[in-house]
Symmetry: C2
Amino acid sequence: MRCEIVAVGTELLLGQIVDTNSTWIAERLVTLGIDCYFQTRVGDNLTRIEETLRLALERADAVIVCGGLGPTQDDITRQAIAKVMGVPLQRDPVLLAHIEAVFHQRGRPFTDNNAAQADVPVGAKPMATIVGTAPGLICPVGDKQIYALPGVPGEMREMFEADVLPDLQQRRGDAATIVSHTLYCWGPGESAIAARLASRLQALDVRGNPTIAFLASDFSGIRVRLTAKAADAKEARQLLEEEAREVRALLGDAVFSEGDDDPARHLPEAVVLRLLKERGQTLAVAESLTGGGIGARLTSVAGASRVFRGGIVAYASDVKFEMLSVPSGSVVTETAAAQMARGVCRALRADIGLAATGVAGPDSQENLPPGTVCVAVALGDDVTTRTLNLSGRSREQVRTLTATWLFDLLRRKITGLPV
Amino acid sequence: MRCEIVAVGTELLLGQIVDTNSTWIAERLVTLGIDCYFQTRVGDNLTRIEETLRLALERADAVIVCGGLGPTQDDITRQAIAKVMGVPLQRDPVLLAHIEAVFHQRGRPFTDNNAAQADVPVGAKPMATIVGTAPGLICPVGDKQIYALPGVPGEMREMFEADVLPDLQQRRGDAATIVSHTLYCWGPGESAIAARLASRLQALDVRGNPTIAFLASDFSGIRVRLTAKAADAKEARQLLEEEAREVRALLGDAVFSEGDDDPARHLPEAVVLRLLKERGQTLAVAESLTGGGIGARLTSVAGASRVFRGGIVAYASDVKFEMLSVPSGSVVTETAAAQMARGVCRALRADIGLAATGVAGPDSQENLPPGTVCVAVALGDDVTTRTLNLSGRSREQVRTLTATWLFDLLRRKITGLPV
């Protein structure tokens, strides 16, 4: 099965917003084993939306179109779809009542423009799930389909999962259930992960089910995603679990989290907060080159306050000496990092202290090249340090990678893994 | 003139990376007054790249294609262009020598694959600027052009500015010079800015030159961009300066920075660091709900160390009481914020202290709804405080907006504006 993605909105063509919807949908289609050869972005222009949808339908079995379902004059995706279907729009009374109820419930005024959101091309079916006020549409064109979704990312995603995905699976005559499981890894790079999994990649290449896909991110490591297909969910889960067992054994302690739920729950900062919460331990951070970024990442997780007490950002050297009792001299050493971790632990009365000091760049410092970073984890007086070489990276990458390495060192330390 | 953008790369279709190149180019085209009606993404497939380029050339006067110019087997954009042009590829000896020299200089091995990067469709012209190792190409097809650029954002942008932009202007028979000037604003929203500029918008609507465009960002405010066109640079600059004077008068102190250089230099954090550096003043930050994010933004600017001494992240209430001498009781008050700012100023011996305390959400705290935030700027004992209402925003938005509001309060305070 082949699917195309069309993003509608003049703001996309003006470069005012980045089209992350197409990226998200593309990734979901990969999981489902559906090919996508083209993605198109088009402005709020009836003729051009129609032309784009027609071309996409010619090349693919289904088209997912995002955006242009709102209440304003600019929102003309449903008109364009009606033209492609060769049918008029008709106001759907059930849908109208539903939208009115939503407005009433939120205490917002309901206008004629909003009523137009209940217009549906004759023959099309409103999606059951409505997250905002823009209903999604499933629109048959011959034996093909157009799925129309709103452009607001949160609404789009929820409606894709609830209505588009099951419909896509059913229409491709695939009674099979598809389930995924992701292993989140840190440490080895993508090629090293591939080398470790060589035997599985070979075996699965022959069998074709489950499949393995890699997704790399500088920020949070490599995601290894297993996807299995079977007649029912139980069988699919079983296939997946068998494969996960094999893969887990090969990847060992590079895997820092696993699951098939929201990837945000598996960010390194979320994982260490969970581990510490389970253990009833508190955390404080002493930061130099990251300037507060480690604390910012930890506190981006809602509920961080049960674990995270705070920190000291010792950007100037004399702040390190005075507030963290770092001995005067070089501040990019493992000794300095160790003392920072110990010092912040004491100053904020936390169980565990983290520290990072180093050269973010672009200039050298203390004759050390950008990317030279020392980190430390202190559990009271038990301190582990490491020197990282992150040369060849930008200032922002050095800072981001420092935080992730430190979270991984912490995970290893508190779970008793070799550091 | 009409231009289309084509992004090449299977990784885009797999959802592995977000296509920010098309967004960036789209924004540049708007500045130049060039229309863009479609953007397409296509994988590393010869037939489909060729098909996409042909369609784009049918609809537009010029096509900008990014990606697929690298040294690997997957990089086939130049082959696809040769097919569209109906010509063979020919190795360009001058280009080859240049690429070899770059490899030699960087001490990297030079392979046959790299030599293939010197292959040019007969009749096409390599761009003069080569940033990485992938040369850009200007490829005539009848009276239209394909501009091929590498997919690496930094390389793409530099080559676009140096080679594509002047060529586009020249080819559209436009001897005119186009110059831009951006006013960076914080405070009023987009509609309020538009209301203030109503008289100018009306006047320019009639004259058509210069033009005004708005770009909104939650993170750093509204950018008002003026673009003027004239026979030569001097005349264009003069037009621009006259208009900037009018606009500046209407916007008043909402403008926190101006320029036509790198927007990163005009982020609120970069602007306040510059102002403090000029004044020889140092800064420290006391953070609660932002968890270190204010410091992280300040230190994302290279050279921040001349101004920024560091900070105290007082996430837990008792850390505020003990380390910043906040009086016990409610910690989401202007009194608490003032004491945090004063406290961090003293503890880190800085000239100026900033502080933020509040409810990031998603849950309420001290019976205050998410988005309730108190901020303070302390110049020694001279403290200014404010309570922000950022309700209806996500946790991340509340944290980001808090930092930007605080930077703006600091700017107003140190430049003697009303706060």
